[in-house]
């Protein structure tokens, strides 16, 4: 957690009244800092906020966030990265799965304040420009979704699953992908997609 007056504030130029004013200076000072700051510090919302500096999809952000704010709500409402979905808000469905420092986490159970200094990757950060990640392409090729609402979480989970160590059997894919619910029930096609996506990732 970063209290308001933490040592980092001066270095980053983050202030209670928002970052935009000082942002140009700070960005110049910290060359790679591509800060997009959500204007969270309206008068009504300003009390008790904490500062978080987090890299999301390669872009560095310095944000003032509500200490109660989850990473999920912060991504969606402050950074307008709405690809990450809220299916249950209590860690039971997997729709909000993102990567934090390369590991799959449930962003609804992760307070934004705990991501200070970390690297977050969301579904928006998976493709290489126009070139889809092999797992994304595999989900299209195998019809690994219907409504698509759980799909960002499924794909983020699948990519991390392969990184954790490839699945050796279809049953292992089923087991290791079972933290992500798909109510449309595309499960057999998700297994096909993950098997192919894993092969293409090698």
């Amino acid at each position: 957690m970063n209290p308001d007056n933490d040592a980092g504030q001066g270095r980053s130029g983050v202030s209670r009244r928002g970052f935009l004013g000082a942002g140009a200076v700070a960005a110049a000072a910290a060359a790679p800092l591509m800060a997009t700051v959500a204007d969270a510090s309206t008068a009504a919302e300003g009390e008790g906020l904490v500062t978080v500096r987090v890299t999301v999809n390669g872009d560095r952000h310095a944000m003032r966030v509500d200490p109660r704010g989850t990473l999920l709500d912060t991504l969606r409402e402050k950074l307008e990265l709405t690809g990450t979905k809220k299916g249950c808000d209590r860690g039971q469905c997997g729709a909000c799965t993102v990567h934090v420092d390369g590991r799959r986490v449930l962003s609804c159970l992760t307070l934004a304040a705990t991501t200070n200094g970390r690297e977050v990757t969301t579904i928006e950060g998976l493709a290489d420009g126009e070139q889809l990640h092999p797992m994304q392409q595999a989900f299209i090729d195998h019809d690994g979704f219907q409504c698509g609402f759980c799909t960002p979480g499924q794909i983020m989970s699948a990519v991390a699953m392969v990184d954790e160590g490839p699945a050796r059997t279809d049953d292992e894919i089923r087991e290791r992908m079972s933290g992500n619910i798909c109510r449309c029930s595309a499960y057999p096609f998700i297994v096909d997609a993950v098997r192919d996506g894993q092969e293409a990732m090698r």
Binding site: E45, E80, G83, Q92, L126, L132, Q146, C147, A186, F189
Partner: protein, 750 residues
Amino acid sequence: MTVSPVGREVARVDGRLKVTGAARYSGDYPATNMSYAHVVTSTVARGTIRSIDTAAALAAPGVLRVYAAGDGRLRLYPLAPEFSFFGENYIPLQDTTVRYYGQIIAVVVAESVEQARDAAALITVAYDAQPPRASLADGPREPSGPTSSGELSSVTVLAPGVASIDEALAASEVVVEADFEQPVQHHAAMEPHTVLAEWDGDRVTVHAGAQMPTPFTILLGQRLGVLPQQVRLIGRYVGGGFGARVIVWSEAPLAAAAARELGRPVKLALTREQMFTLVGHRPHLTQRVRLGASRNGVLSAISHESVAERPAAGGWNMLPGESTSDTLYNTPNLRIKPQWVILDMPGSWAMRAPDEAPGAFALETAMDELAVATGVDPVELRLRNYATVSPSTGRPWSSKHLDECYRDGARRFGWSARSARPRARVDGEWLFGTGMSSAAYPAARQAASVRIRLLDDDTAVVSTGTSDLGTGAWTMVAVAGADALGLPLERVTPEIGDSALPPGAPAVGSGATHSTVPAVVAAARDTIDALKQLAVTHSGSPWHGANAKDLRYKQGRLHGNGRSMTFGKLLRALGSRGVDATASEPAGAPSGYTFHTFGAHFCEVRVNRFTREIRVTRFTTVVDAGRIINARAARSQIVGGVIFGISGALLEENHLERDTGRLAASTLADYLVPVNADIPDIDVHLLDRPDPHLTGPLGEDGGEVGTRSLGARGLGEIGTVGSAAAVGNAVFNATGIRIRKLPITLDKLL
């Protein structure tokens, strides 16, 4: 030569948007000066609110408004009587009456999600509570409401000289009697209902998931006291429906009314917990099926009685004999008697195959019991009782290949290797068993309007206000348009999910596809006519002054008088951006026929001899749904439907607490739906036999306009019909234990 995409394996046209996170669902739209609403729900099932203390919430940081039941601050209005079926029978926040546990009794609006949620927790409520009516067994029972066509829901067909169904049963050589019970089930779509409402003067734009975009504007307009044309519904991407997004519940009226009162955009997202009481459920149901038959299994009587929950707040009229006992088998004597019991429960609504899935579980389990009682193989038993005309109406089917579904399915599954004797197949600690069932689902065509616009870049836009809940409607519209216009798929742009488009087919009753395609064909015909008219009337056209009848459209080109040109080139030459036409097709289908999609399911389970753990190991489904538009999306729909059935058989249950009227489960950890590890590969085969009586306005290929997309019937729900019975029948074959109360959990097999 452009090859029609109809019936091929077509990747979803919205696939890229969905795998990159770019597809915007209702909660994904930004708004300037957004505010966030959080609702507070009742904690008694019946009574009156004595007081609501909102002081602490109002004083909490960032809180903009608190609206409480009975405070009169948000004006909402009743639905017109002719629309009352499509909503609950009360208006949220307009009085202090509590009708069920989990009803909205206050709304907090704040600057942020966190502030609204935490302020909502500060609200305290005092009730004058009464004991709720919360038990189906307690009654009193009343006759269910009429069918959707207005007919009496009870059916009696008796052979000449037979006085009653009881007499017919008493005269039968073999009688099977079985009582069934199915619990409350939830749609549990992955996207919790979320509404963003933003007013501009007296017009409101609402982002929400809606299965019927145009009716949504009518219903929401009535709730808000404005005209439908003042409401625009945008719901291009919808995180699942399954019936829960057919009607307008409380969240959209409240969000829109709050946005109007506050003068700011309001986003209202229901929590997963709130989803269990605020957007409908499949009603609690008991059924009694009695079958009378000869010793060789030929049916002489079917009696199908049911008692369903009917929420006092309004809900679905359960008729589980429809398209099951009144459809599947030839029988000289038929009695269907549905009843309901009014309970103080959250509003219910149709859930995927709302009547047919519960009804088929009862009938198809009873048929398996008849197979056991007579010693006739279950597939053979169904063929012996094969209906060629509807047992209730006497009308023939427009197209029916259910016999082929049985035979194909049996062959693919390896049914002939089965032993009818329970517990015959043991492998280590596992008992293996197989079971099968039939499926039917009505194919009713809804009205639909489609606009097609041909553009000067040689592409076409096909627009219709239907909705894609994950069904593949985006792709279906593109496929039908490409076929009708003879264009490559990538040159057709579909537009759906917006009430500003021509009114599209409701995404209900498995009807969107076969309701939309005739209108696409008609719109293509009319647009080509408009193109020809432009060609002969525009002074800059090479065909100026020619007779339109001498022009012929083929695959994106106009031909005539020795010339040929693409429509794009013609439009460019005329300086025109595009030419368009809109066509509408009415609801209904040719009279004199009965329209159904059919299917057959075959299931293998293994049940642990010691723990009674149940695993589905194999599943084969063969479906006769007429013409297949997109083989890939169709297979996905069937697989999803079958898994709904497996889930209903083995997992899903919400227990109604008799003392409190509370539904016990409110999260995805205590309301179980399948995860990946619960589901095996599922083998689906689609017969692809075009329905000759659902051919649309042109009949067979009229020449210029492609008609390969015609002759389809729906398939979104058929997979859910009967699949639970196939699982249960397999469990019986494995264990010798017949479970008639769902879900079939291991404790029931101990």
